[in-house]
């Protein structure tokens, strides 16, 4: 098992199929612009076949690239169709351009990191005194803004009086007194509206609400019995027997 492991390590050395292709291309020892794409494809497919023979787990992208290269190889070898789509020569050229471009960046990176780098080859001053910039704020605010702000605060926070002008209401106390009194008059069931004072409009609405609350309160105290046939049906009141 030692040998396959060796090759696994080797596989891990490649950063993906393009990296592997570039290294194979470089092994042709010619200018990348003059490499033989066909030879390159052969090498790649042979590499993948060898890895497969050793039953190595190849990453999916290696296999996808292998499939694509096999397609490219057959397209390059077969007699030209009238209108090949896509043009295999163009595909080969694109692959070559990608390899050149990656190679150029690899080269550029190597030249970059080999430069005289600050902190490694050249050094800045070791103990700079340092520069200090004290920022002083020059606040842009004037007297008008100040007093206008105070005006706004005053307006916002001065107490607001809300006066209810002339609104007739029947208080709960009045309703309690009236309902209790009227309950004493008869033993029969009587509808709630018969307990209301003669009135109309806003006062009547208030009287209904207060008398209803009074009826509930008296029922709680056991001083009245309530009956209602169904929701929203008239409410009947009776003195307990």
């Amino acid at each position: 098992m030692a040998e396959p492991e060796q090759l696994t390590l080797d596989l891990d050395g490649w950063e993906g199929p393009l990296d592997l292709l570039l290294n194979l291309a470089r092994s042709q020892k010619v200018d990348l612009r003059r490499i033989s794409i066909l030879a390159l494809v052969e090498q790649y497919l042979a590499f993948v076949a060898r890895a497969a023979a050793l039953r190595l787990e190849l990453a999916a992208d290696y296999l996808v690239m292998a499939a694509w290269l096999a397609y490219l190889k057959s397209a390059l070898l077969l007699p030209r169709e009238a209108e090949p789509d896509p043009d295999p020569e163009l595909l080969a050229l694109q692959l070559q351009l990608r390899l050149e471009r990656l190679d150029a960046m690899r080269e550029a990176g190597a030249r970059l990191v080999a430069r005289d780098r600050l902190g490694r080859d050249v050094f800045p001053r070791g103990m700079p005194e340092g520069l200090r910039a004290d920022r002083r704020a020059d606040w842009q605010v004037g007297l008008y803004q100040l007093i206008a702000a105070y005006g706004e605060v005053s307006v916002r926070t001065c107490p607001v009086f809300h006066v209810v002008a002339d609104r007739q209401v029947m208080t709960l106390e009045a309703a309690l007194a009236r309902v209790s009194t009227l309950l004493g008059v008869t033993l029969d069931w009587r509808a709630l509206d018969q307990f209301l004072p003669p009135s109309a409009g806003a006062l009547r609405r208030s009287a209904v609400a207060s008398s209803f609350l009074a009826a509930l309160e008296l029922a709680r105290q056991g001083r009245v019995e309530l009956r209602q046939a169904g929701p929203f049906a008239p409410l009947y009141l009776r003195r307990p027997a």
């Binding site: 070791g126 520069l131 706004e152």
Partner: protein, 188 residues
């Protein structure tokens, strides 16, 4: 001035890059030769420049010329506008001083953040003005002479009163939301 030789250049670079003043021995360890002639040469080269080679005890260092120290520090003025919260807080302090933070918040109807008072303190417009003798002994704030100067006031009495503000239309709730339907006095 003749161009510096290799030893002078080496001593110059070593002292420039050093993170602490170096003894002659320490320099020699870097440059591999007696640095003393080079030190003398460098001291002469830098005489009268903005940077000097100086000796402190038995250690050598480059430092900026003492007469240029003032250049290394500068103050720059930045135009900045005060936040609305800060302007309101300043106004409340000016009208009600001495006033506690809780009182400012009660008047504004909004809490004030720590930074708001800091900005006003840093601007030099307000100052702590003693503690109020109530439970918790809260700090009170008041305005400073710098406040009067900045706003062109001879004294706090020059601040327009509430009636002046109303007369000037500054109490008209023009931009307030419709939730405030009535003003006291209007409906009565």
């Amino acid at each position: 001035m003749t161009p510096p030789d290799d030893l002078v250049r080496a001593v110059e670079a070593v002292l420039f890059a050093a993170e602490a003043p170096l003894t002659v021995d320490a320099i020699r360890a870097h440059v591999g030769a007696d640095p003393r002639p080079a030190l003398a040469r460098l001291q002469a080269d830098y005489a009268g420049r903005g940077v000097q080679l100086v000796r402190r005890g038995d250690r050598w260092l480059f430092q900026t010329a003492a007469d240029l120290a003032h250049l290394l520090r500068r103050t720059s003025e930045e135009r900045r506008s005060l936040s609305r919260a800060a302007v309101e807080t300043l106004a409340i302090i000016a009208y009600h001083e001495p006033v506690t933070r809780a009182e400012i918040e009660a008047i504004r109807g909004v809490q004030i953040s720590r930074g708001t008072l800091d900005v006003l303190l840093e601007a030099g417009w307000i100052r702590p003005a003693g503690r109020r003798e109530v439970p918790g002994r809260p700090l009170t704030y008041a305005t400073t002479p710098g406040f009067l100067t900045h706003f062109g006031l001879a004294s706090r009495r020059d601040l327009p009163g509430i009636d002046d503000l109303r007369a000037a239309g500054l109490l008209d709730p023009v931009d307030l939301s419709s939730e405030r339907l009535e003003k006291p006095g209007d409906s009565a």
